[in-house]
Assembly symmetry: C2
Homo-oligomer: 404 residues x 2
C-alpha cells in the first residue's frame, strides 16, 4: 500500500485527491500497489467534505509518519512550500509538485537533495499543466541534444490574444471578460506581464542545458501593449500574434531565453494553439521538430500530471526516479540586445519616410481599413540597434513586435 499526503487542499489539491480516488483501479494498477491518500494538510477544516477525516493541520504529522512515502506539494509559493519540500526530501519522502515558482527558484537544490536521499523531486505539472512535457524531455528525448524550445506556456494570455484576434476586441475589454470567466486572476500581472511563462521557460531551459537558468535574468515582456491594429497587420501578413517563450542552447553552454509577444506564421504549428491551450515546440539535433499540445492549466489536467509523478515515485520507492540533469551551476544567459531578428513596427502614416530611413531594406505592410498607420517589417537587425532607432523615432512608432 502506497500512502500519499497532499499539502494544500485548494483547486489542484482537491483535484489530486479526486484523480487518485476516481481512477483508483487504474492508478493502483500502474503504481503496482494500491494507492491511497492518507493525509491532506490544510489550515482550514472542511466539514462535510468526503475526505474531511484526512485533513490535518500539523505538517509534522506527515513528516513523522513512516508510512508516507510520497508527498504532493500543491500549496504554491516559495515560503512554507519550500521548507516542507526540503524537510520531506531530507526524510527520504519523494515530493511531486505543480509549484512552478518553487521549481524555477529552488529546483536544482531540491533535485540534489532528493538524489542524495534516494528519493525523487518531480514537477511534471509545473509546466504545461496536464501536457506531458517534463517527462518526455527527461526520458523520451534522452538521446537528443535539444537545441531550441518555442512555447506558448500561459493559458490566460493565449486566451486573451485568441479572443482579440477573432473578435477584434481590445486588450482591456478582453482581459475583463477573461476575468469574469475565471480565466484570468483579479490581479492578472503574473500572467499578462509574462512572469508565469518566464518561470516555465526557465524550468525547461534548465532541463535543456543541464544547468540552472535564473528566471529573474530572462528578458520578459507581456501582452498589455498589443492592439487590434497589430492583429490587423498580422492577418494581412498571414500571421498571428502569440506570447512566445523561447530558449536556444549554444554549443558553449550559454542560453538565449526570452518571453515576448511575437508574430508567427499561420503555417506554424503553434499558430493553432488557441484559447487556454498551451503548446511546446522542441527541436532536437536528431529528431527535428516535435510539438506537445494540450490544456496548460485547470484542476483535473494539472492534478492528473501530479498523480502521474506520484505513480512514478511509487514504482521507485527507496531509490530516485530522477533522470534529469539540472546542476546548481548557473547557465550563462546571452544578452539579447546583441541578438538579431526581424521586427514588425506599426507607425504613424505620416512617418513613412523616417521609418524607411531608419530601417532600410524592410517591407511595407497594408491592412484593410487602416489609414492612420502602416505596418513595416525591418530587415534582420540587432535588438540594440533596433531599440536605438525606435527611441529616436519616439511616438511616431505606435508599436513594435518581434517576428519569430
Amino acid at each position: 500500500m502506497i500512502h500519499v499526503a497532499v499539502l494544500g487542499y485548494g483547486t489542484v489539491g482537491s483535484g489530486v485527491v479526486e484523480v487518485i480516488e476516481s481512477n483508483n483501479e487504474a492508478v493502483s494498477a500502474k503504481a503496482g500497489e494500491e494507492m491511497h491518500v492518507k493525509y491532506i494538510l490544510d489550515l482550514r477544516d472542511f466539514p462535510g467534505d468526503p475526505y474531511e477525516d484526512k485533513v490535518v493541520h500539523d505538517f509534522n504529522v506527515i513528516l513523522n509518519d513512516p508510512d508516507i512515502s510520497v508527498v504532493c506539494e500543491v500549496m504554491g509559493g516559495v515560503g512554507a512550500a519550500y521548507q516542507f519540500t526540503k524537510q520531506c526530501l531530507e526524510a527520504g519522502k519523494s515530493v511531486c509538485t505543480s509549484n512552478k515558482e518553487l521549481v524555477a527558484k529552488h529546483g536544482a537544490e531540491l533535485l540534489e537533495i532528493a538524489k542524495n536521499k534516494n528519493c525523487s523531486y518531480m514537477f511534471e505539472a509545473s509546466v504545461g499543466g496536464g501536457i506531458p512535457i517534463i517527462r518526455p524531455i527527461n526520458k523520451a528525448l534522452t538521446a537528443e541534444k535539444l537545441e531550441t524550445i518555442s512555447a506558448i506556456l500561459n493559458g490566460t494570455t493565449n486566451y486573451i490574444l485568441t479572443k482579440m484576434e477573432k473578435e477584434g476586441a481590445d486588450y482591456s475589454e478582453t482581459l475583463k471578460k477573461a476575468q469574469e470567466l475565471g480565466y484570468a486572476e483579479r490581479n492578472p500581472e503574473a500572467d499578462v506581464e509574462g512572469h508565469d511563462a518566464c518561470r516555465k521557460i526557465a524550468i525547461l531551459s534548465s532541463l535543456m542545458v543541464g544547468k540552472n537558468v535564473d528566471s529573474e535574468k530572462i528578458y520578459t515582456e507581456g501582452i498589455t501593449k498589443i492592439t487590434p491594429a497589430d492583429f490587423a497587420y498580422a492577418k494581412a501578413a498571414g500571421m498571428t500574434i502569440k506570447l512566445l517563450a523561447t530558449s536556444q542552447a549554444s554549443d558553449d553552454g550559454s542560453v538565449m531565453a526570452m518571453v515576448a509577444p511575437a508574430l508567427i506564421s499561420r503555417e506554424h504549428p503553434l499558430a493553432v494553439v488557441n484559447d487556454v491551450f498551451n503548446g511546446v515546440f522542441v527541436t532536437g539535433n536528431m529528431l527535428g521538430d516535435v510539438m506537445f499540445y494540450g490544456r496548460g492549466a485547470g484542476k483535473l489536467p494539472t492534478a492528473s500530471a501530479v498523480v502521474s509523478d506520484v505513480i512514478d515515485c511509487a514504482r521507485h520507492i527507496g531509490r530516485s526516479s530522477i533522470v534529469c540533469i539540472w546542476d546548481r551551476e548557473e547557465a550563462k544567459l546571452v544578452d539579447i540586445s546583441e541578438t538579431e531578428k526581424v521586427f514588425f513596427v506599426r507607425a504613424e502614416a505620416s512617418a513613412k519616410a523616417e521609418v524607411e530611413a531608419a530601417f532600410p531594406g524592410g517591407k511595407y505592410l497594408t491592412a484593410e481599413g487602416r489609414t492612420e498607420d502602416f505596418g513595416y517589417f525591418t530587415a534582420v537587425m540587432k535588438e540594440r540597434e533596433f531599440e536605438e532607432k525606435c527611441a529616436a523615432l519616439g511616438e511616431k512608432i505606435l508599436n513594435r513586435i518581434r517576428v519569430a
Copy 2:
C-alpha cells in the same frame, strides 16, 4: 559500460549507431554509464564503413555474449526478427525496436516474456517515429483513463494528401512525385492502403485498453480514391482531408478502431499536421485533449527514439522497465457498421433529388468551379444504413468520405 548490439544495418540501424556515437557524451550521461555498440548483425559486409569491425553475421555471437544487455532489433519483418527478439528476451537481454509489424503482431507475448525474465521489450520508435508517444502514454498519462485517440500516423499518405490539397494535383501524379522524392516506396501499398497506420493504431489501442487489439480485424481504408474534387468541397466547408487512425475505448472494455480518410475541420489541431509529419491526438478522462506532433519517420528521428529506449533499459539492468499493461487477452472490436456518424458524399449533379431522398435532413455543399457534381453532408446515421443507400444509388455517388 553498457554494450549494445544492433540487429540490422539498414537505414534505422545505421542511424542508431550514429546517434549513440554522435551524442555519446549526452547518451552515456543519461544512461548513467558509458554506452557503446559492440556488434552489428547483418548478412552483408560493409568494407570501408567506420564500424565495419563490429559487423557479425552470426546471431549466436550476440546471444551468447554475456556483455550484451541491450539489443536493438531494427531488421523489420516478423520472421527472423521475431525469433531473435524472443531468444534475446528469454536470455534476459532487453530488446528495443522500431518494428511496428512485429510489435502489432506479437507485442503482448514479447512483453510477457520480458516481464518474466526481468528485462524489457520497448517500442517507442514503432509509432510516430521520433515523436515521444508510447512513453507518454505509458508513463506520463498513467493517472488517466484514455478514452479516444485520433491520429495521423503515416507520413507518406499525409505528404500525398497535403500536396493534393495545396497543388490541386490528382492522386497518381502526386504518388509518383512522392516516389521520386523517396517519400513513398516503389510498392506503396502498405502506406496508401492504410496498413501501416493500421498496425500503429493497433499498438496504441492495445496500450489504451490493456488488452490485445488485433490489427487484422481493424477496418482499414486507404487514400487511393481521394480526388482534387473532394478537396475542393472540403475547402468550401472549411475542412481538409486526412487519413485518420482512430480508436475509442468503451466502458465495457471493447474498442472502436478504424483507419480511413476523413474530413476534419481546419480548426482542429490535426489539420496543421502537414507533409510527412505525424500527429497523435489523445483524450483522457481527467486531462482532456493532448496532441503529440513531429516527424513520423526518417533515419535519425526513428533512431533517436530507439536510443531513448536503450537508455531506459540501461538504467534498469536486471529489472524490467516496462510499465504498460498489454495482456494477451483479445480486446473486443466493435462492428463499425453499427456506429453512427456524418458522411460527405460527392454525387453527379443530376442526382440531387435521389441523394436528398436517400439521405434526408442533410446539407448541400457547393464549391467554386464544380458544376458536374455536388457535395452533400448527410445527417448522423449508421454506417450500415449509409452503405445500403450508397449501394442503391450506384455510380451516381462519385465518392464518400467520413466526417470526423
